[in-house]
């Protein structure tokens, strides 16, 4: 029997979809804004075509998160979290490695803080939903 998702799970999925869509759209529509404000020195600017391919990934994942939200079942939601959890964790590692070598733009520390809020939430949700599914 498929149970509906817990409110926290739905909140995390919805937030994931919205944040991914915002980033994806900004990269697609305004690569210059991305290179100036969402990234920036000391990182090298990302070529426009590359940002747009990145945007395609983000938008596709936003769609997947929205679809999982709509399906309202753990089988679907955990697949999205199985992607976003490792992705955010990898980003944290890459950001820390960059911070120790070349340095990172200030805004990346905001992303870092959001990441260390997001990751434990994913773990909590995974545990809660898995316990219900047994």
């Amino acid at each position: 029997m498929n149970k509906s998702l817990l409110p926290l799970t739905r909140l995390v999925l919805a937030t994931t979809a919205v944040v991914l869509a915002i980033f994806g759209l900004s990269w697609l529509v305004s690569p210059a804004f991305t290179n100036s404000f969402l990234s920036g020195a000391p990182f090298e600017p990302i070529p426009t075509f590359w940002l747009r391919y990145d945007a395609a990934l983000y938008l596709a994942l936003a769609l997947g998160a929205a679809y999982a939200f709509r399906q309202n079942q753990w089988s679907a939601a955990r697949v999205v979290l199985a992607i976003t959890g490792p992705y955010i964790a990898a980003n944290v590692v890459i950001t820390l490695a960059s911070a120790l070598t070349t340095g990172v733009p200030l805004i990346f520390w905001a992303y870092f803080v959001l990441a260390i809020i997001y990751l434990p939430l994913v773990i909590i949700i995974w545990r809660q939903e898995s316990a219900r599914s047994v």
Binding site: P47, F49, W50, A56, L57, A60, Q71, V79, A82, G85
Partner: protein, 144 residues
């Protein structure tokens, strides 16, 4: 009794669906390794001129995304149920479609695209109908 057991059994994915998921996972893992650990090689061979060089860090963030997507596809394959599989396909198919569109736009721009992107387009136009076919098959009620 046999009918009741059959009714209670959980249907796994069709072989073609599993194949599509497996190929999705493998391709993404290969792209992840290339992006994360061989960014220079990736830039030279997988995304060569006339495209602008992608900074190593950009390549690595992209590689991280492919790694995560590969994990998701492998996980959906392991779960062996349509709810998980269709969530993955609802990500990968739009991504591939968007990439085809972006590739065509870039090809028509003054920059142009490297020949290897022709191969990516061919693979994409094999993949997208397969996903549509798999989606249709899995969504139809199965006759036992």
């Amino acid at each position: 009794m046999t009918t009741a057991k059959m009714a209670m059994s959980v249907e796994g994915l069709l072989p073609l669906t599993k194949l599509v998921l497996a190929v999705s996972a493998i391709v993404q893992f290969i792209s992840a390794v290339a992006g994360l650990f061989l960014p220079g090689l990736s830039s030279s061979f997988l995304y060569p001129p006339p495209l602008e060089r992608v900074p190593v860090l950009g390549m690595q963030f992209f590689g991280a995304f492919y790694l995560a997507n590969g994990i998701g596809a492998a996980y959906a394959l392991m779960q062996n149920n349509w709810a998980a599989a269709r969530t993955i396909l609802s990500i990968s198919a739009p991504f591939v479609v968007l990439c085809v569109v972006l590739t065509i736009v870039t090809a028509l721009s003054p920059t142009g695209i490297p020949p290897i992107f022709g191969l990516y387009v061919v693979l994409s136009i094999i993949y997208i109908p397969l996903v549509a076919f798999v989606w249709k098959q899995e969504s139809s009620p199965r006759v036992k």
